[in-house]
Symmetry: C2
Subunit: 432 residues, 2 copies
């Protein structure tokens, strides 16, 4: 395929339109496609309505080279993607005994009889190829027609993601729709706004041929994406050189190339130091712990975390002195530090990170209104506290407080890296 | 307006299509519209491309009674919503001195001169009415034409939300597009699959005139939404009666009417008993704690939680006996219970809930493979453990384990309600 193929994705399901659930499919498919050098031209979220599915799909199909649909392949009566799309393509739905056999096998493994209702899932448009679904009952369907490709994927993420990565990606590479090489690079930053970041790096990027620059702000971080539109004009190496120059210009706000979370960056730093971590949280209530524990292999580094909402819990679980709580209050520099050192001692860890504050909507004082948060940090080379002031609602304050704590620890770790290497080992070979 | 108006929303902005940011506009507008008895027929996420905006808008406008666009009203060159939509409507863009005056006033308040570039924001399609934006520079635009309504709203949430709630909602009520009453109802269930749930309630719903039924599965829960298409045929009372009959048929898998989370349901039960809770987590690593701490006012009930990854932490923080860990292993019924009772004792709480297991991708044994999870529960009327076997990846196993623990506690609380009322108070007045 010579020019960039046009891709549209169609997400089918009433629940997304009612605002109950975030459209995680768009986030997932958008970033998957971006990894393969494509940007979807549109994402259509539509209802489980046969006429709407037929209409939107037909328009999408007319415009696009690749259409990916998700949802509506289940067994219930509101799962009508198969029927509606077959109609739009003027194809018959045929019964496929192979799907039935796979379904029966699946129910057999679960030691359940297959409900009558699941027979609906055994039909497919006549020219469609069946994609096995090891994680659920709904098979995926792939269809090539008029030089275009249609992929129909199941709605649940744990079924759709593996099918996309294991089946669709290699298939689209084979069809020449996904290029073989990555042709973009992402720079992740934290603690700097979009415009300030742009000012820092614009002089490096302005006027570069075949370069596309995209900024994206999310929860206290900004990503910059550099893509080459033409690998002959701006090569992969050229893109890497540009990114290195940007890294230099960005300084300590630079987090990583790619998509690592702040917790992953800290995890790698601590693992390389062979050191361990524990956390203590009040207002973030588990978010700090869970951003570490979502990392596979974290048990090498992370000992645990204490969520202490009540003052009694801070005393009992983290050995925060009662007199300190009385004198300074639970939301204070002193208590933040005591929580961090307490986490280290109680969990037997080298590093401790803590958050205490007023997330809202109630709580807070005249001096420390809702959004006042103290961070505490305990390390082999020193102990620090820091105050931040947030202005969002409860959910946003909790998220931001966790992000700020992680970013702060990341900076401290980088700043004191040499000293901590000494603390980690008495003999450092500088000739390596 | 006699029949249900068709609403489509169009979200304009490249960043959403790249999958970097969630489409919070869809979640927001979807739930706002649902609260006013409408379901958007579609949400189109499209690029900042003049041809695409013109094309998608024109199709949307042809099909719909109400179109809401967000984004692309800023001052920079990629803000082209005004121009593209004026073109689709075959209207001229005219300079509006009132917008200029408002902008100059805004910049005056910020004690800055208005940049030349902001003059672009002073143009509007000739028949459009200007909606003031107290929180930013981009004015909203409202347009009535051919019996249809178009609302063009700014992209940033803190500008768009107040404009929608303070200006658009009353206006659409006045125009008769938003009815005065809510006409849908949601039933939330847990621990039952979509097909099994459908089989339980289908006989109550089949053939009912003016009724629309939608199912939505998310993370171990299934919601059923009942909507009335015509309040004369299926009244609000009729809808409530249907929902009550469904509740009866669903039995203990029924969680609530509406959108409460499992943690909120437990929170309300415990608050009504005047009892407190602590949790202990291994593989869920903070997810249990954070599902409680996201609730405003939870401190009345929730004392805290201990995330204990290492065995040492389980001993040190939760008083789990070392001999028990050696004999039964950390992933066992015995340790799950010891963690739950330990959480109660260490945090001084009445109820304890615990999770310990192998979330994957590594860990696990021949007898207890990845996905083996034990739940522990300690309450004033007894202590229980339960084993579950999950089959997903790490992220999904963590989420599912947390959901299962919450759902299990919810069921136990309901089952033993009477006894726990006794435990909560020595004198119960049955005449109330």
């Amino acid at each position: 395929m010579s020019s960039t193929p046009r891709v549209e994705t169609i997400t089918i399901g009433d629940e997304l339109l009612l605002g109950i659930r975030e459209n995680a499919h768009l986030t997932y498919l958008g970033s998957q496609l971006a990894h393969h050098g494509l940007e979807p031209a549109a994402n259509l979220v539509i209802r489980d309505d046969p006429e709407d599915i037929r209409l939107f799909f037909a328009e999408s199909w007319r415009r696009s080279d690749l259409v990916i649909t998700t949802g509506g392949l289940g067994p219930t009566t509101d799962d009508i993607t198969r029927e509606s799309i077959a109609k739009a393509l003027e194809e018959e739905l045929i019964f496929d005994p192979a799907i039935e056999a796979a379904l029966k096998e699946r129910f057999g493994q679960l030691e359940k009889p297959m409900p009558e209702i699941n027979l609906r899932q055994c039909y497919r448009p006549s020219s469609a190829e069946v994609l096995k679904n090891p994680y659920g009952t709904a098979p995926g369907l792939l269809l090539k027609k008029d030089g275009k490709i249609l992929a129909m994927l199941p709605g649940p993420s744990r079924e759709m993601h593996p099918m996309f990565e294991e089946v669709i990606v290699p298939r689209l590479q084979k069809e020449g729709i996904f290029p073989e090489i990555d042709c973009y690079l992402q720079i992740r930053t934290a603690g700097i706004g979009e415009s300030a970041l742009a000012e820092k790096i614009e002089h490096l990027l302005d006027g570069k041929e075949a370069l596309v620059v995209g900024y994206c702000a999310h929860a206290g971080m900004v990503d910059v994406r550099l893509s080459s539109l033409d690998g002959d004009v701006l090569t992969e190496q050229g893109l890497h050189d540009l990114a290195d120059a940007c890294r230099e210009a960005i300084g300590e706000d630079f987090v990583c190339f790619g998509e690592r979370t702040l917790a992953e960056v800290i995890f790698r730093d601590l693992r390389s130091l062979n050191k361990t971590l524990a956390v203590a949280e009040s207002c973030t209530g588990g978010l700090l712990s869970s951003s570490f524990t979502e990392i596979a292999g974290i048990s090498k580094v992370f000992h645990g975390g204490a969520v202490c909402y009540h003052n009694d819990a801070k005393v009992q679980m983290l050995d925060v002195p009662e007199s300190m709580l009385e004198q300074h209050g639970a939301v204070s520099e002193e208590v933040a530090i005591a929580m961090a050192t307490g986490a280290c001692e109680c969990y037997g860890a080298d590093y401790g990170l803590s958050v205490t504050g007023f997330a809202g909507p109630t709580g807070g004082t005249q001096v420390l209104p809702v959004g006042s948060i103290f961070l505490g940090y305990s390390s082999p080379v020193g102990v620090w506290a820091k105050k931040i002031q947030l202005r969002g609602d409860r959910a946003s304050n909790r998220r931001r407080a966790a992000t700020s704590a992680l970013d702060w620890m990341r900076r401290k770790l980088r700043k004191y890296k040499l000293e901590e290497v000494f603390a980690a080992s008495e003999t450092v070979d500088f000739n390596v």
